[in-house]
């Protein structure tokens, strides 16, 4: 498989007052097209930092991150914005829908930002919320909001979908629904999905699992038989 993105010897240090926090220590990996990757690790292990670096909203202290011909570690803010706009879809733990836009408008916003978007109305149907198209986020349940957030992320037709604890704020039944959407997107649209979680059960749906601990990528496990979201429970 062709690597979509390569991270080589990346480190990330934060300065907190007089203390330097080493969030990532010499991490290297490759992410391939059409893969579903789960990043697993306890709090403070460096998984969110990694996701943010992959998404171009965080810069590395050293090392390189290469997406196609673009070196993220050398790109200026404009290039990083363009990278996020054209290639990256984000899904957040707290959905981050724009409160002033309806369900459909939140999805359509992504379409306006993308050069090759998918149909917002169709996506709304796919996430099962066609009847909520004119509802504002504050009138939707948590699960419904996350499904809208997924549709928004997918609408850009991104090459890489980055999900930061997408089920973290949901009950298990709604969480499964969300994972089904993500897995379905990966398989049917043949896109790459990177998903952060601290829930080991969710890792069973991944093609590969990255294990992070204390800022290091401890190991990468390939899952020979990824499960369907319906098949897992937590």
């Amino acid at each position: 498989m062709k690597p979509l993105l390569q991270a080589e010897h990346i480190t990330k240090d934060y300065q907190l007052g007089e203390v330097t926090v080493h969030a990532l220590k010499d991490v290297s990996f490759e992410i391939y097209e059409k893969e579903l990757i789960v990043i697993l690790g306890p709090s403070g292990s460096g998984k969110s930092t990694t996701l943010n670096i992959l998404g171009g909203i965080e810069t590395v202290t050293s090392g390189s991150v290469i997406y196609g011909s673009l070196k993220l570690n050398k790109a200026d803010p404009q290039k990083l914005t363009a990278y996020r706009r054209e290639h990256i879809g984000f899904i957040f733990q707290f959905y981050n829908l724009l409160p002033g836009l309806t369900a459909l408008e939140n999805i359509a916003l992504s379409a306006e930002l993308s050069n090759h978007p998918l149909d917002p109305g169709k996506l709304l149907e796919e996430v099962g919320l066609a009847d909520r198209r004119d509802h504002f986020p504050n009138r939707l349940s948590g699960g419904e909001q996350q499904r809208i957030a997924i549709a928004r992320a997918l609408c850009k037709n991104p090459d890489l979908l980055l999900c930061d604890e997408p089920t973290g704020a949901l009950d298990s039944r709604t969480g499964v629904q969300v994972l089904k959407l993500l897995e379905g997107f990966c398989r049917s649209y043949e896109k790459t999905v990177v998903l952060i979680t601290h829930n080991r059960d969710i890792a069973r749906i991944a093609d590969r699992v990255f294990y992070f601990k204390d800022g290091r990528l401890e190991k990468i496990e390939t899952n020979p038989d990824p499960k369907k979201p319906d098949e897992i429970m937590w």
């Binding site: 909203i57 724009l98 409160p99 002033g100 992504s110």
Partner: protein, 775 residues
């Protein structure tokens, strides 16, 4: 320090409010205290009268009248004075000085301001008013001559004089603004005055002190009756005395502006402080929850925030008080320029500062209390959880319109709808800056309009020569022929008008028909011919006398009428300046039962010939004084410039306060939207697109603010017109298109600056942090 910008903004805003409050109140107190003290110390009379002449002993008999405690008077006369450096006719209102005077006591000082006692003055000493001394800077011992009936009498400048009834000294028919170059008071000894006038013990300017419990109405009938045999020409209470009236008018204006402007500024300060502190406390919600969980009581938490609010309040009060000390002195000096007080000293009043501190602290404490009480009600666990997003109302954009709007515009519109309070605050800031600034800036065009109307459409002459006596129009015309330029003879004299029990004093203009140099013109631009057999009356005088068109009024004037004559009021007109009455010269025999008499010649010299005319007039002895229109306009402009300094200061303060409000509220609002903005950036929205979204919002607020600013400006102007009431002018503030355009431009620049600051803040947003929070 959290929210550094917002706190500094709150301190500045409250500082501006306190600054306006303290500087106005202190100026008012300083003037009021010193004028009152001067009136008291110098025995300022309660009742004033002018007669042709009365001996001192006869005058003292007036104390027989029940209610009259004491009586006193001066000999006085308007005379020309000659000295070095004069380029025009200079007139003094010469008064006699008697060390035994108890009423309207004249103060004499040497040129350095040291008091002189009576024993220290010589017979040929002359003391000039403060303003004339300042205009000519004559050294002690300078020879000055007084001209009477063509004869010059020599005096030597000794020092400065001041009199409580001439704090504000202006000649009849001249500018409403004192001008020491051409007119002021002067004092010589009584003995010398008697020789100069050729009259012995003949007092003509009288003053009376009343017993406690008596007022003017209790004594005026008897006084009038007793003084009539001595040629009574006018009698009035202190409030109507020319100088006291002008001073009181100025004080009323100062009280009005000193009340309304601080109220507006303080109200906006209170509101701003509340908003800033409330938002600050809202952001501390989690911290409050944690502290409560640790066992901190509500009272302890409240105290902690009260201290913070208190520090802001104290800092604002200190800043405002410090600046007020400087500006108060400037304002006080400006008023002292117009009022002649013997020893004006500016004091910083501790009371006003304590009041300011109390207002400031009270405001801060109230704002903290209102801000913190909601949060204190919730449990520690709830407080520590992130706040649920507010469920505001979303704007439904019609589909047809929505299709044409960009997503940024829709986000902007919806954001405004979801949190209308944010928008309301910014709109309020624009309304405040717009209305206050446009109102303040409308003063200057109003003054220009008054000057244009008065000196280009009403008084169209260049020079006004006041003769030392009444002459026939024929004699005056013969004299005017000397100038070989258009000239007209008119009568301009002080008259008393009486209607029912009301009396008012004004100036009568007896004008020739079809006068070309003096037009009777109302505020609407209508020109009136001087009426035959009837009177045109100024609206302010008519209101004082409760007269309307068609009523009859009684008129009396020394040297012109023999007692009161009845005359019908043909019209009541509104004029911007002055409060005169008008009558045709031709009707003098029929109405006033006197021959047509004139005492004033108006000349249209043109700019080139004026200097020559003035030079030739220096040689004449029959002209008491000259009023040079350009000089009057100059004096008005000089007064206006001083006032405009103050008005501009308020305009600037409004702009600064408005700017701080717009900036601060924009920043606070944007910080509340960190997550929303961060999400948009993560989704790939460029800075340009975000800027365009924020600009859309800002422009909508700006347009709404300006639209609401129009009625607000109108309201403030009407309020100022009601509050600034004057007997001598009509305040008709209207805001012209250039002022509106300038104000719109100022508000636009402020809005754009706030937008620019927002964009800078957007660039600094930490995306990783914002994504952790819930909108």
């Amino acid at each position: 320090m959290r929210n550094k910008g917002a706190i500094i903004g709150a301190i500045l805003i409250i500082g501006i409010g306190i600054f306006v409050f303290v500087s106005m109140i202190d100026t008012l107190h300083n003037l009021d205290d010193q004028i009152s003290a001067y009136y008291k110390d110098s025995g300022m009379a309660d009742v004033f009268a002018e007669v042709e002449g009365i001996p001192s002993a006869e005058l003292q008999r007036m104390t027989d009248i029940p209610g009259i405690r004491a009586a006193g008077g001066h000999m006085s006369r308007d005379l020309r004075i000659l000295g070095e450096g004069q380029e025009t006719i200079v007139t003094v209102h010469l008064m006699s000085y008697d060390p035994g005077d108890k009423i309207n006591r004249i103060t004499l000082t040497d040129l350095s301001g040291e008091d002189l006692d009576a024993g220290n003055t010589a017979d040929d000493d002359i003391f000039l008013g403060n303003r004339m001394t300042g205009s000519y800077h004559y050294p002690a011992g300078t020879e000055l001559s007084l001209l009477k009936d063509g004869h010059a009498m020599r005096f030597f400048c000794r020092g400065i004089c001041s009199s409580p009834d001439y704090i504000y000294s202006i000649p009849h028919g001249g500018a409403m603004v004192p001008d020491g170059e051409v007119y002021d008071i002067a004092v010589i000894s009584k003995k010398r005055m008697e020789r100069l006038l050729g009259k012995n013990d003949c007092l003509n300017e009288l003053g009376f002190l009343l017993e406690e419990g008596y007022d003017y109405d209790d004594v005026r009938h008897q006084l009038r009756e007793r003084l009539t045999p001595y040629g009574l020409s006018s009698i009035c209470e202190r409030d109507d005395q020319a100088s006291a009236n002008m001073v009181a008018g100025e004080m009323v204006e100062l009280v009005s502006t000193g009340t309304i402007l601080p109220i507006i500024f303080m109200a906006i300060s209170v509101f701003m402080l509340y908003v800033v502190l409330k938002k600050m406390i809202d952001r501390d919600r989690t911290l409050i929850g944690t502290m409560k969980a640790f066992g901190m009581t509500d009272r302890e938490l409240l105290c902690a925030y009260l201290v913070e609010g208190g520090v802001i309040g104290i800092a604002g009060a200190m800043l405002g008080c410090a600046a007020a000390g400087i500006f108060g002195r400037v304002m006080f000096n400006m008023y002292v320029d117009f009022f002649t007080l013997p020893d004006p000293v500016y004091h910083d009043f501790i009371v006003s500062r304590l009041q300011a501190l109390a207002i400031s602290l009270g405001t801060a404490v109230l704002a903290v209390f209102l801000g913190v009480r909601e949060i204190l009600k919730i449990t520690p666990a709830t407080a520590m959880r992130q706040e649920e997003p507010k469920t505001g109302r979303n704007i439904r954009i019609p589909e047809r319109l929505g299709r044409h709007l960009r997503m940024q515009t829709r986000i902007g519109l919806r954001s405004m709808g979801r949190n209308p309070f944010r928008g309301f605050l910014i709109i309020l800031a624009v309304v405040f800056a717009f209305s206050m600034t446009s109102s303040m800036l409308s003063f200057m065009p109003q003054f220009e309009e008054v000057l244009h109307s008065q000196f280009e459409q009403i008084q169209v002459y260049d020079l006004q020569l006041t003769l030392d006596r009444f002459v026939t129009p024929g004699q005056a015309e013969d004299a005017a022929e000397h100038f070989s330029c258009p000239a007209e003879a008119i009568c301009q004299t002080a008259v008393a008008l009486r209607h029912d029990n009301l009396t008012d004093y004004t100036v009568l203009y007896g004008l020739p028909p079809n006068s070309e140099l003096y037009h009777i013109r109302d505020n609407g631009g209508k020109i009136y011919e001087p009426p035959y057999n009837s009177l045109i009356l100024n609206k302010r005088t008519a209101e004082n006398l409760h007269i309307s068109e068609g009523d009859w009024v009684e008129l009396s004037s020394t040297g012109l009428t023999n007692g009161f004559v009845r005359i019908r009021v043909a019209a009541v007109i509104s004029e911007l300046l002055g409060r005169n009455c008008y009558l045709s010269l031709d009707s003098f025999p029929e109405v006033l039962h006197s021959d047509p008499s004139v005492n004033t010649i108006l000349i249209k010299t043109g700019a080139e010939d004026k200097a020559g005319s003035l030079k030739s007039l220096m040689k004449t002895s029959r002209v008491s004084w000259i009023v040079d229109t350009d000089k009057i306009v100059g004096a008005y402009r000089s007064m206006i410039n001083s006032m405009i300094y103050m008005v501009d200061m308020f305009a600037l303060l409004s702009v600064v306060a408005g700017g701080i409000l717009i900036y601060n509220i924009s920043m606070i609002s944007l910080k509340e939207r960190y997550t929303e903005i961060g999400t948009l950036r993560v989704l790939g929205m460029t800075h340009r697109e975000l800027g365009s979204m924020l600009l859309t919002e800002k422009m909508i607020y700006f347009v709404l603010g300006v639209l609401l600013g129009f009625p607000a400006s109108y309201g403030i102007n009407r309020l100022l017109e009601i509050l600034i009431i004057s007997d001598s002018f009509d305040l008709r503030l209207h805001i012209g298109r250039p002022t509106y355009l300038l104000t719109i431009l100022i508000c636009f620049v402020m809005t754009m600056c706030a937008w620019y600051a927002e964009q800078r803040l957007v660039r600094r947003i930490e995306l990783t942090e914002t994504l952790k929070a819930r909108e």
